[in-house]
Structure formats: C-alpha cells, structure tokens
Symmetry: C2
Subunit: 191 residues, 2 copies
DNA sequence: ATGGTTCTTGACCATGACGTCAAGTAACGC
DNA sequence: GCGTTACTTGACGTCATGGTCAAGAACCAT
C-alpha cells in the first residue's frame, strides 16, 4: 500500500471527504441509484466535482460501499454463525438478510447486483452467496430442510425479496415479514 | 345504450380502430406503461391523435382493457371454479394468476393496481379479489390450508408476485414457478 | 504577493418521456 | 367541385435524469 495518492490539495481533500459522507447519507436513504446531483447538493459541491473525483456513480459507490454495506452483511454472517442449530441458523440468515434488504435500500441494491461491473460489490455478493450455500448444506444435512434446494434457489429467494423490498418503499414492513415466513415454511421438508 | 357517438368521420373511425388494435399489441407486450408514442407509431398515427381521441393513457386503457385483460382473468376464474377439491382449486387459482402475471405484463399492471383512478380496472381487481377470498375460505374449511390466512394475505401474495414478474422481463420462467411453489407449500397447514 | 498549477463550477448537450396546440389536411354535404 | 367542418399533425414546452468541459476560482510554493 504505497501512498499512491499524489497528494490532494487541501480543499480537494476536504471535498472528497464531504462527498463520501454525503454519499453515505443519500445512498443509505434512497439506494445506490439516487441522482448524483442529490449527493452533490448534500455535499455542497457541484456534480462536476463528483465526476472529476470519482469518475461517476460506479467509483463513488466503490469508495463508500465498505462503510455503507459490507459491515452490515458481514455482521449478519458472524452473528448468525454463532447459532448452533443448523436449521435455525439457515432460517435466521435468510430472515436477517431479507430484513436488511427491506431496511437498507443500498444493501439491497448490492445484493440485487444492481451495479454490474464493480469488483468490490461483486466480491461481497459472491462471499454472501458462498456463506449462504454453506448454511443451506448444513441445514439440509439435518433432514429438516428440503434437499432439492440449491444455492441458486437461495440466491433467487434473496433476489425476489429484494425486488419486493424495493417496491415497498418503507411501508408494510408487517406484511413483508408475514409473507416471507410463508416462503420460509415452504422450504422445510415434508410435502 | 343510445348511440352516444355523434358519428365519427370515416377516417377518424378507422384511426380509432387502428389505435385500439395497436394498443392491444403494445400493451400486451410491454405493459400498460408503454410510451404512447410507441402505440401511435404502431397505429401509424401521431401521438396527438391518441390524446385527442382517448384523452390520454387512462382513456386508452379503459377502451381496451376488456379485450386485453378482463377475458383472461374471468377465464381463469371459471376454469378454476370447475375444480372439485377446494385446496386444489385455491392453489390452482394462485398458480394461474401468477403465471398470468408473468406472461402478460398488462394483466399484471391491472392486478397491481398500477393505474389508480380507472373505474373498470378497479372493478376487475375487486372482483378477482372477492373470488380469491371465496376460494381461500373454502380451502381453509378442509383444514389443509392455514387458517390464519386472510384475503389480504392473498392479495399481498399476488401483489408481490406481480412485482417480481415485472422485474423478470421474460426470462427465468423456470425459477419463477419453482419459487412460487415454495410459497404455496408454506400456505399449507402443519407448522 | 504572485505565478503556476490544481480544482471547481455551472452552463451545456443528450435522452426519453408526457402533454398541448396552431396550422395544415382531408372528408363530407351540398 | 367546393366550402365548411372535423380531424390530424409534428414541432414545441416541460421535466428529470446522465454526463462533459472551457473558463474561472482557489490554493500553495516560492
């Protein structure tokens, strides 16, 4: 890690920081597709600056994704990993991810792979997916979860929930959870 | 029903018909939110004519919804009504509606109530909903379908599937059906 | 404090949608 | 045929987004 930054001028440095903070706010509230103008306004700069500094939405996202989303997802993974019962663990994972998707539009966008072509995002997704596959396998080993389920099915379930969450727009959390419990039940063994 | 049409000029008559046909095609293919320009192009008229004749998207939709969607939904209802087993009937209804949503973006838009303020559409939805409620009740009476389900739950399930179908964009029909079977299983009684 | 360099700005272009209307075109009745 | 009236057109105005860039502002080393 050489300090590959050729030394930013003081004002530029300040702006970069401000933009990152603004982006965190805006993205958290409205997802990764928020107009960059909005981020610019929140940061008190003009949108040109964002393009100049980050090269566009893609770059800006890469610059904040760690603080914005990665923590949360990793948090869920470690938290859930501590659960002993494999079935419980698997179901908990899905519930937590689903709620995350509902509560954090930005995390949802990541899980939906809404930003094709960002390495860090792809990696994050990939990781979450592998973990989910692990939980699934262990849960299936108990015989209590349908053994015709695949990792892809799990990803599909997450994708679908994400699409729904996106359309909910912070209403009906009640119905959202009620409905995913139905799906969860449908994943258990026994006709 | 007096012929309240003050007699359209021959060319106008022709255009109205052409627009209706074009709208059927376009709406069927891309949903009720297709650009009116596209309908106009398909009909070989200018978009001004549509506005003049139908008053905008709303009016155009009202003018074609019967041919476009109502038939299909009513068809499903009668077809499914013929099934004897209440559980089978209820589940079949959901499956059929879900597939309809997937296959016909226009029908989907109607079921999603995407066009607030159109009387015929609202009526159609309302009807479908009442029917679904009936099927649900009868299915629950057998004890094989969870009795904590309500009509609203059913509507929610349809709404959610509609949102998903809309995002699928004619791919992954396989996954779509696979996934709704999980949900369906989750509606059955027995933990 | 001044010159040279780095940074920022905001006006600008583009796209794609909605909806309107004056002016032009075409059918109809006579 | 021809005037009248109904009908259609397509350019125009608007809004919301993404993205660019020449020109001006800010900084920093000297």
């Amino acid at each position: 890690m050489t300090s590959d930054t050729p030394r930013l001028r003081a004002d530029a440095q300040r702006n970069v920081e401000g933009i990152r903070l603004a982006a965190l706010d805006v993205f958290r509230a409205h997802g990764l597709n928020s107009p960059l103008d909005e981020v610019a306004r929140a940061a008190g700069v003009s949108k040109g600056t964002i393009y100049h500094r980050f090269g566009g939405r893609q770059g800006l996202i890469d610059a904040v994704v760690e603080d914005l989303v990665a923590e949360r997802i990793k948090g869920i993974i470690t938290e859930v990993s501590a659960i002993d019962d494999p079935v419980e663990r698997f179901e908990s994972y899905l519930r937590q991810i689903w709620l995350l998707q509902y509560d954090e539009p930005a995390a949802n966008d990541v899980l939906l792979r809404a930003l094709p072509g960002s390495a860090p995002l792809a990696a994050l997704c990939e990781h979450a997916n592998r973990v989910a596959g692990g939980f699934l396998g262990e849960a299936q080993a108990t015989g209590k979860i349908r053994d015709d389920l695949t990792s892809e099915d799990v990803y599909l379930l997450i994708w679908e929930r994400g699409i729904i969450a996106r359309a909910c727009d912070q209403q009906h959390r009640e119905g959202f959870t009620r409905s995913f419990e139905h799906t969860l039940r449908g994943l258990r063994s026994g006709s």
